[in-house]
């Protein structure tokens, strides 16, 4: 097996190694590139958007996350479980479970209990001092009023998240069943 005879074999092996490294390099480049492209634009994968679409958007924080979108991101990344949304109730828990392919579990009462027809906030206008603290706290702009003027809550826009109760200095906000006004008429 003369060295000369072996040279072409050696050459082919070298060429093969070179070829494989080039191909592997290309592969690495595209895998990393695609990965970066996905996360670079703070891009919420469609899974997060689909999860967010299922949530009731009360932004109440009962699921220990800042709002519905953060909770959806937590579920997508597997940090949160699918039964932490009391306002959504059994239907949302089942939909989240089905979407994540897990066995749907009933809502965990530890995160709070919400009545079937959610209550809405109500301001006792005689006690309101117009400090606008609740307006800043309301995530969905359901409170009308200006500083030093009396505030009131638009019952139809209130999602029952109870975030306006703690900041109120005179504690004049309480939760009440929604008024029986015919919803269809007023839209």
């Amino acid at each position: 097996m003369s060295v000369l005879g072996a040279l072409p074999a050696m050459a082919t092996v070298l060429v093969a190694m070179l070829l494989m490294t080039i191909l592997a390099g290309l592969a690495m480049l595209s895998v990393l590139g695609a990965g970066r492209a996905a996360t670079q634009t703070g891009y919420d994968s469609s899974l997060v958007r689909q999860l967010d679409a299922l949530l009731p958007q009360t932004q109440c924080g009962r699921c220990t996350y800042a709002g519905c979108l953060p909770y959806a991101r937590a579920i997508a990344h597997g940090e949160a479980d699918t039964n932490q949304c009391p306002p959504g109730g059994a239907r949302t828990a089942a939909a989240l479970g089905r979407l994540m392919g897990r066995e749907p579990k009933p809502v965990d009462p530890a995160f709070g209990v919400v009545p079937a027809v959610p209550f809405v906030a109500w301001i006792d206008e005689t006690a309101c001092i117009g400090c606008t603290k609740c307006i800043q706290a309301c995530p969905v702009d359901a409170i009308v009023g200006a500083s030093r003027y009396m505030h009131t809550i638009i019952a139809e826009h209130c999602t029952g998240c109870e975030l306006c109760i703690p900041p109120c200095p005179v504690d004049c906000i309480e939760m009440r069943p929604p008024p029986a006004l015919p919803r269809g008429m007023s839209s």
């Binding site: 070829l19 191909l23 895998v31 590139g33 695609a34 990965g35 492209a37 996905a38 689909q50 392919g101």
Partner: protein
Amino acid sequence: MSAVLLILLSSMLINIVAMNGAPRWRPFTAMNDEFAAARTLAIAHLIALPPLVLGSWLLFTRLLQPLSMTYLRTPAFVALVLTIVPLVETILRRHGRLVPERPGFVLLMITNASLLGAALLASNRLHAPIAVLGFSLAAAFALGFLLLAFTALRARLRHADVPAIFRDAPLSLLTAGIMALAFMGFTGFIQE
């Protein structure tokens, strides 16, 4: 021809088990509308398969065979897949509506046996580039149709009051079995 069908079916069977077998992430059912995921995957296959099969065929016949290094066929194929699939994903992502799911899509595309099967078959059997292209397009189209049909099928099976022992996986395998029966009708189409 029957060999191709058997390969497709085996990939379909392997896929099915993969689809509802792996517990932690289930790439397929991670979409609330399974149909959208199946459509995304079908179109991804349609885009990925032709360049992949053509590339691996050219690589094999023009490069590895003259240098008699055919043992490098599979690693070359793996490298090719790792190059093409992420590119396909970026193409799909720009499309917006067909956005693939991060964990599920890439892994499924790379580990999809039918891509490897199609590539190996092409390099063994076919000799003209046109035949290779035609074959890869046909394989991608058949796989896409099967994916969509099967997803719609499972959506309907989900609501039927199937006996408890047959629920989910066994019924999918039984359905795949009867489907294989149906495909046996095509045996002998093209004399090998």
